[in-house]
Amino acid sequence: MINNHPNTQLLTDYATGGLSMAPLISITTHLQFCDQCREAVSGLNILGGELLADCDEAELSDDLLAQTLAMLDAPMAPSAGVEVANEAPKSSLCPDLANQLPKYLHKFLNHQELEWRSLSSTLSVAAISVGEADYELALHRIDAGGKAPVHDHKGTELTVVLKGSFSDEDGIYREGDFLMREPGDIHRPSATQDQACICLSVLSAPIKLTGIKQVLNPFMRFNPS
């Protein structure tokens, strides 16, 4: 049972195309786990369809249909999205990890070397590049029983639990749970004892460590290449 979901505004931003790539990916990842949010998004898309059907028509150039028909038989550009998903997984994503992540994420991860960096004895991070400068997307792994440093947020942090579970002062979060931390929230996540916890996280600004030497700060920044 998933107890933590994106709020209605985020789901609406998602369905209307208002989100940047990284937050968009975090919502889609949550949807892989959550039928309830999928149902909400489905309704929001229907609203989009109704707004489209209800729109004032704008006349098209006379030859647009003919031009378009002529283009239909052209071979598909290799970059067309449809095919990306079907590519055989490359070796860079080790099968051990791949098995633990939703299939949806494979298409981003297959395209890059995941480089895990240790932030502490129990916490490591691997940046995922989606070619976007204003957000940082990353996988976080907290070892079983491990703790992340206490930190607060200058920007908004979105987290989806992919595997295992973790807890903080406010509760326990399990696979599929979606969390939004607002600027000013301070928390210290720790994994449950039985297994490591893997999360997908999106940061809109670097987080600030609290009560820990500032020197750690640069390590917390994941620089999308």
């Binding site: 505004q9 931003d13 609203l47 109704e50 729109c55 028909l69 970059s79 990306v84 949806y104 395209h111």
Partner: protein, 208 residues
């Protein structure tokens, strides 16, 4: 190759042909006549939709209409009328096409990635266990209540859907707090009897 539409498009609604069935024909038979009919109907709507959003010239809007319809042609084999009405399906393709177009034209992002919006959205977006049911119920609820939404709620939805603005961007543009935008969106969705996120906020009673 052009094949004949054997029977006349089914008139299951007073409003016109059965677009879902035409879309199925495009997918199963590469039926160019059916595609032409869809193009003639949805093309002007798509252009109107894009122009209402602003930020694009009429020629660019036509480029986007063309790009959207070409994707419709290519993706039609995966279209399932039990999962989505043609208009809903077209909407999601048009939305994704516009996202990619805007990204391509934005200077602030790197140009190195080959990710397209279609890869980022949920492939099974439309297939919740309740799809067929909510599809019909939602569509008729929306039709019934859309025109009676208060102006301020309609304005927020319009900015979001037609311009692809996020709640925060709408708040900035209207110079109102984000919280106000959020509550207008929630109130509007409740009036349209759409499901809200299960997260925190007060839930609507799901009257059928």
């Amino acid at each position: 190759m052009v094949t004949h539409i054997k029977t006349k498009a089914k008139m299951n609604k007073p409003s016109g042909p059965d677009w879902n069935a035409l879309l199925v024909k495009v997918g199963s038979h590469q039926d160019k006549a059916a595609f032409g009919a869809l193009f003639s109907h949805f093309g002007p709507l798509l252009k109107g939709f894009l122009l209402k959003g602003g930020g694009v010239e009429p020629e660019q809007a036509e480029e986007l209409v063309q790009e959207t319809m070409i994707k419709v042609w290519r993706k039609a084999p995966s279209y399932a009328p039990t999962q989505a009405a043609a208009s809903t399906w077209m909407y999601t393709i048009a939305r994704n096409t516009r996202i990619d177009w805007l990204r391509k034209h934005a200077k602030k992002n790197h140009q190195t990635d080959e990710l397209v919006a279609e890869d980022l959205f949920d492939e099974n977006e439309e297939s919740s266990p309740f799809t067929a049911l909510i599809q019909t119920r939602n569509a008729s609820n929306i039709k019934e209540h859309l025109n009676s939404l208060p102006q301020e709620q309609l304005q927020v939805l319009t900015l979001m859907y037609f311009q692809g603005k996020s709640g925060q961007e709408v708040a900035d543009e209207l110079a109102i707090p984000l919280g106000t935008v959020k509550s207008r969106v929630r109130l509007a969705l409740q009036k349209l009897k759409l499901k809200l996120s299960p997260e925190g906020e007060e839930q609507v009673v799901y009257a059928s």
